[in-house]
Symmetry: C2
Subunit: 254 residues, 2 copies
């Protein structure tokens, strides 16, 4: 399994790697957070954020480092503040399905069960906010508008999950790659990043595990898109989408 750290199982050592916040100071770290507007925190005012700050700490992960494994006790929830994460499920023979890539502002780890439903791992150097689950649940009772915000986020994720089921279940390899590139572009645009060219720090293997393909098929398909002038691969893991409208038609199977 990729991403082993010294403990041998890739899991974060919560007693060491999570850094509690300084509680005093002129500006709350939550209020000053660069992704505050992108996540559930934006339901709270600066003053209210102080409550949130009290139940959060920072986690730093290196590339490939595990945040949690499927089945581990779901004691914390997380918000990505920088970098990127992948979440995935495994079959007993090692087959892996990546079920999402998470970027700054994304929330993960919420569960109604006692255990995490999936594993999470850093795609690159990543920083997250970590919240004790029980304390956060208490906070939600005090601030129902945050719970409402989380319900909205969950419903948006459900809609995206259904789009991904359509991709996985019905699209060809080329339609899948086109859809994936467009999704990254839309995602970057929505969060205020550059949407063309797009950053593509994701390996061909990870793309394959997300799209239900193999590494070779992803590579062949990207080469075809390159050869036909639809995309240009740039240094530094970036991809320029040369004709958005045609790519959208391609993604939709037209």
């Amino acid at each position: 399994m990729a991403g082993q750290n010294e403990q041998g199982n890739g899991a974060v050592n919560f007693l060491r790697d999570a850094i509690p916040r300084p509680q005093a100071g002129s500006a709350s770290p939550c209020a000053a957070c660069p992704v505050r507007d992108l996540s559930f925190c934006n339901a709270l005012s600066d003053a209210e954020l102080e409550h949130l700050n009290r139940v959060s700490s920072d986690v730093f992960l290196a590339t490939g480092q595990s945040l949690f494994d499927e089945g581990a006790p779901a004691d914390h929830v997380f918000n990505v503040t920088s970098g990127a994460m992948k979440i995935y499920k495994l079959l007993s023979d090692g087959r892996r399905q990546i079920t999402g890539f998470l970027f700054p502002g994304d929330f993960l780890g919420l569960s109604t069960r006692d255990a995490y439903a999936y594993s999470a791992e850093a795609v690159c150097s990543t920083q997250l906010c970590r919240f004790n689950r029980q304390k956060l649940e208490h906070l939600l009772r005090d601030f129902p508008k945050v719970e409402r915000r989380l319900l909205g986020i969950a419903n948006d994720e459900l809609a995206l999950a259904q789009e991904q089921m359509l991709i996985l279940g019905r699209k060809t390899a080329k339609e899948k790659i086109a859809s994936f590139l467009l999704m990254l572009s839309r995602r970057a645009k929505k969060s205020g990043s550059q949407s063309n060219p797009i950053a593509l720090p994701i390996t061909r293997t990870d793309m394959a595990d997300f799209l239900g393909l193999t590494t070779e098929t992803v590579s062949r398909t990207i080469t075809q898109l390159k050869s036909s002038g639809m995309i240009t691969l740039l240094p530094g893991n970036e991809v320029r989408l040369e004709n958005l409208e045609t790519l959208e038609e391609m993604a939709e199977g037209e």
Copy 2:
């Protein structure tokens, strides 16, 4: 497209087919509802349910009748009270991915957007509760515990969506069918119905569209499971699972 009614587009005529509840009476229809314990309504007491009763009406659908189409204005949300629904997304060339089968107690139609993210259609004769979306949102503000219940439901659905992505993206046809039958059995058990044999009112085509296969592949695979003694097809659209443990190993690819 299957399931056209007289209006030619399969959509429910809301001004005629939805029947408002009688507002007076000794027992609230919501309090008397057979699926009350299975759905979000169980967060409310009998007295509190009266508020819910005031914002709900009944919808009756025949087999194949559409509830709503993807992109239609999302003015209502629904709860299945009897029968079964399927929700799906379409590509422009007619390719269809069924993203869920819904049974009594299931909730559908909630969206943060102005339009439905998917289409919904009756698998068989089906009855649903219908709630005006804005009125329900007001009710959620008055009863945050219902919102909390909905958040829990959404998170459960997200976990199921990820399991389905693993199935769609990584499993073989036989693993898919085995997983599907087991899912129906678990679902029946959880809602107090008979879990073996299971009822299977779903056509091979609908199974195929849910599992990312074709009708013929589903049929061939079911025949293989039959021939190998894993299942027995019974009259009345029922299937007996002959060896749950072996079927679970098969579903998991062991």
